[in-house]
């Protein structure tokens, strides 16, 4: 089998340098590539363009990259949970491109699947439509949206094997599954790295062909952003 394993997070990030465009999987803090984010926060590189649905919280997730002022442009969708991000946005230290979440997901999927652009109704009649081609199908209006062009996709999966097959867990599948294979290089960290043959082919969510590098994450905090409980 083709082996995609790399020894550790620093091998996994070979080729990352200032100014690159990064896709980051996860929704809120759920399913974020914790080890890769920490390594980039500790790297000497900056001025990244990041594509991510959310922006983490002040001291975790993507928030670590804002703390260290690593991000020049953020392409995201819901950004309401990080005060340092908000400060940098309102003081124009960073450029922010807000995108409807379904459009963001589909721009990743289009990149993954080799589709250059697609039409979607999301954002018609709003400021999101400014400067975009509008076309009518069956008397409904749609915007033309283009696939993302990214250098690295940084993904987190639950289980993976050495040839890059991935299984996600719960709602941590989110953007991880649609960003795999959507950038020039896809780097995956997993909670459980298993030998080839250990995963049943029936259970694979993302085939290894979409993955370039895979490694076992050293530690996982898996922080919960909004712990909500019932009492009965």
């Amino acid at each position: 089998m083709i082996t995609k394993t790399v020894a550790d997070v620093s091998d996994a990030l070979q080729g990352i340098e200032s100014g690159k465009t990064l896709m980051l999987g996860g929704f809120g803090l759920c399913g974020i590539p914790e080890n890769l984010i920490k390594a980039i926060a500790d790297s000497p590189f900056n001025e990244f363009t990041c594509i991510s649905a959310n922006v983490g919280v002040d001291d975790f997730g993507l928030g670590l990259l804002f703390q260290k002022k690593k991000i020049k442009t953020l392409i995201g969708s819901y950004v309401g949970e990080n005060r340092e991000f908000e400060r940098q946005m309102l003081s124009n230290e960073i450029k922010v491109v807000l995108t409807p979440m379904g459009t963001l997901a589909e721009k990743c999927r289009a990149a993954q699947m080799g589709i250059p652009a697609f039409y979607t109704p999301a954002g018609y009649g709003t400021e999101v439509a400014e400067g975009k081609e509008i076309r009518s199908f069956q008397s409904k209006n749609y915007l033309l949206e283009e696939a993302y062009q990214a250098d690295f996709a940084l993904i987190k999966a639950w289980k993976g094997d050495t040839t890059g097959n991935l299984i996600f867990r719960g709602t941590a599948k989110n953007f991880n599954a649609v960003m795999s294979g959507a950038a020039k290089i896809t780097v995956v960290e997993v909670e459980h790295l298993l030998p080839v043959g250990a995963l049943d082919p029936n259970d694979i969510h993302t085939p290894g062909i979409f993955v370039d590098r895979i490694f076992q994450g050293a530690t996982y905090e898996k922080r919960i952003e909004n712990r909500t409980l019932r009492t009965i």
Binding site: G31, G76, M101, G102, K173, N174, A177, K222, I224, T228
Partner: protein, 220 residues
Amino acid sequence: MALDKNDIAKRIAQELQNGFYVNLGIGIPTLVANYVPKYIEVEFQSENGVLGMGPFPLAGEEDADLINAGKQTISTLAGASFFDSATSFGMIRGKHIDLTVLGAMQVDQSGAIANWKVPGKLVKGMGGAMDLVASADNIIVAMMHSDRQGNPKLKTKCTLPLTGVNCVKRIVTNLAVIDVTAAGFQLVERAPNVVVQEIQKATEGHLIIPQEVPEMQLEY
């Protein structure tokens, strides 16, 4: 007496029909799940990738890999499924979701909605709201009739940046149930003991008032 948030949710729950797939937004809409009539079956979708969402977990059962779009911990019910974000929004864009309930800062009489941005003040982003309102055929807005400063949230024309146009069909507030029609805001029901004049006063835009305005029935 004007409704509280739970009563608004209770009234919206009456719009649920057996077999509906439902997407609930953050805030008052989330409360609708607490009032599903016992005699019907519905499934709740959360756009971060789950169908068959259940109640919040008991202490000790919370799971970092199991959240809703508000990043709250959740549980799943028998028959639940997980999927990626593109598939999730495919369910929405492809009109497989039967009912969408979401909050709003403003709604106008043309059915436009604004709920994602107050320029210079509050920029949280649109999240999935633009996808939802652009695609769903059946959209109910759950909100208070006036904002905290007492300004009407039902407008002749939205003044805040729009989330979508020609999309809102029904609005349930603390004062009334109002439908958006080609002729303007159509008053459908009033909250218990709320008089029509109070609704009229709190509404900007053209309010069509029928001769009889029934009171909402919240106990059943």
